[in-house]
């Protein structure tokens, strides 16, 4: 949380400043929508690793980070990349090959955990998960939980309802709060102070931001304060939560941004195919990540023709009749 009135900085600097080796991070968006991809690629280029990622249903962002070896620990509800990869490919391989530590929750549990972090309470209750292996199979060891103060002592807890059977519940599952070191989101509009306006579904971005010690916002449009103040009802994130604002047009590409551009299903498929073999994936990374100096250069190799294809129709907010594979 910072209050300096101008938080605009280059993405390179924001990542370098706030995303440290070993940091606990979360990223916004959902599967193939509004993942902060420019920031993800910058983390990869800066070779920041040993990250602990909290995710509900992050798709593309999560899989690129895992594929690049940035993630050592993962708390997650779902890893899918739409039609291109119903299960994220690098994620599945990392789990199958035991190259990351992971712990599974449900989407609601992860959302509640961010919400608890935002609210400043140690846990929130839910009636989800009783009888499931989500309650019984814990990914992090007891000694890890004991030694690492950033890992909670229990994955979750089941307690009796102290209010009798109020609300028809005899017991509840309590899920522990998450307070990431840094959360990165991509939004349609932000001003220099960091106030943000997200168009369309907000997923769990708002809770993730409010739960986080530092927040990096990348935005399609960096607008004047006055533009956002005209309709405060559309601003979900007031500036007090934000540490850095980075103007990165198409910063969620190849995932979608409602009102701006659609997901690039061809790119997603290209990624999925490449991710299946080590050699092809290295080639892909060399071409699209390490071989470009920033997101602008990346978009240049994608080309205007492809970008035009996914550009959103102003009426619907997505690319109408786009060829989707």
């Amino acid at each position: 949380m910072e209050n300096s009135l101008n938080k605009v900085m280059p993405l390179k600097k924001a990542i370098k400043t706030f995303v440290k080796t070993g940091a606990h991070i979360s990223i916004g968006g959902f599967t193939i929508n509004r993942n902060p991809m420019a920031a993800v690629y910058e983390i990869i280029r800066q070779k920041i690793n040993d990250l602990h990622l909290y995710a509900h249903s992050n798709g593309m962002g999560l899989d690129e980070l895992i594929g690049a070896g940035c993630i050592s620990k993962l708390e997650i509800a779902y890893a899918g990349n739409g039609k291109a990869a119903p299960t994220c490919i690098c994620f599945a391989r990392a789990v199958q090959n035991n190259t990351i530590l992971f712990e599974d929750y449900s989407n609601y549990m992860m959302s509640l955990r961010f919400m608890a972090g935002a609210m400043g309470v140690p846990f929130l209750p839910t009636l989800s998960g009783f009888g499931s292996d989500i309650l019984t199979k814990w990914g992090f060891s007891k000694s890890m939980r004991k030694e690492d103060s950033k890992i909670v002592n229990k994955k979750l807890a089941v307690v009796d309802n102290p209010f009798g059977d109020w609300a028809g519940a005899s017991k509840v599952v309590l899920v522990p709060a998450i307070n990431p070191d840094v959360t990165i989101i991509h939004v349609q509009m932000a001003d220099a102070m960091g106030t943000c306006s997200i168009q369309g579904l907000t997923f769990s971005d708002i809770e993730q931001v409010k739960a986080s010690r530092h927040v990096i916002v990348t935005c399609e449009k960096l607008v004047e304060k006055a533009e956002l103040r005209q309709n405060p009802d559309l601003n979900q994130i007031p500036f007090i939560h934000v540490s850095a604002v980075c103007h990165v047009p198409m910063g969620a590409y190849p995932t979608a941004v409602f009102g701006h551009y659609d997901y690039d299903s061809q790119y997603l498929r290209r990624f999925a195919l490449a991710a299946k073999t080590t050699d092809k994936f290295k080639e892909y990374q060399a071409d699209c990540i390490y071989g470009v100096k920033d997101h602008e250069a990346f978009l240049k190799i994608i080309g205007q023709k492809q970008i035009d294809k996914i550009t959103a129709d102003p009426r619907t907010g997505y690319s109408v009749n786009m060829k989707r594979d």
Partner: protein, 258 residues
């Protein structure tokens, strides 16, 4: 199959699921065939049903079929765009939650309708890792009715799940309630061969309907556990009208039907 109006396995599955949806239901929908079943219900038998996504969109217009529950196509012309916590709130509370019917898929299902969408093999070192729960465990915990869509294969209808992701009837009898769950969970299974339901007392899966030209014994052969097929009757095949609406209004480009 009625020779006068042939249909594909995917079509009969969609229609069978659509028939489960009642007017006024709020349909928790994923993408693919579950989306198509929701659209079919709305167009055929439940015009006042409401399509709803865990990402927070409700009653979206869906001029184009979405390919993910975060597809921008679901954000257009919705009654409200909100967020995950709001969507699960709608399902967890008993006021709106009791109106929700979910459509889920899974890698494995057991005789009590519990689902596995997490892994094949040991959880910590699996042979195959899947995407995970997503909202599946949540909705199966919260809502009174869930439809499971499955391909009917022995390796999917298993004696014991490798991981119990989404609760069905747990071990049957009163075990769901004893565990802390409300009644609900998977209540019907729609496959390419037939429709299964669960005995009210034992919570065990039984064959309710077999499709025309599918012998109940064939279904049993494709099921690794011992399922009661004694009560099964033949399903009413999709009607000409149902198929017409499904093909012409729900998926004219056959994005999902093919």
């Amino acid at each position: 199959m009625n020779k006068d109006h042939p249909y594909t396995p995917r079509e009969i599955m969609t229609i069978m699921a659509a028939r489960e949806i009642k007017n006024g239901d709020i349909v928790f929908s994923g993408t693919g065939i579950s989306m198509l079943a929701a659209m079919a219900a709305k167009n055929i038998n439940a015009p006042e049903s409401v399509i709803f996504f865990e990402t927070g969109a409700i009653d979206s217009l869906l001029e184009e079929l979405p390919f993910a529950v975060s597809d921008p196509r679901i954000m257009y012309w919705a009654a409200a765009n909100s967020q995950l916590t709001d969507a699960f709130t709608t399902m967890q509370n008993r006021i709106t939650g009791d109106k929700v019917i979910a459509i889920l898929g899974a890698a494995q299902i057991d005789i009590h309708g519990n689902l596995n969408t997490t892994c094949i093999g040991d959880y910590f070192s699996p042979d195959i890792r899947f995407a995970g729960s997503g909202g599946g465990c949540d909705v199966a915990s919260f809502v009174p009715r869930c439809i499971a869509f499955m391909q009917h294969e022995k390796r999917k209808f298993v004696k014991k799940l490798d991981y119990l992701t989404s609760p069905g009837q747990l071990e049957g009898e009163k075990s769901r309630q004893a565990a802390g769950l409300r009644s609900g969970g998977v209540s019907v299974v729609v496959t390419n061969l037939g429709v299964m339901r669960f005995d009210k007392d034992s919570g065990r899966m039984y064959l309710d309907k077999f499709y025309p030209d599918i012998a109940p014994e064939k279904i049993l052969e494709n099921t690794a556990f011992n399922m009661d097929i004694s009560k099964a009757t033949q399903a009413d095949p999709p009607t000409i009208k149902e198929l017409k609406i499904l093909r012409e209004e729900c998926d004219p480009q056959r994005l999902i039907l093919d």
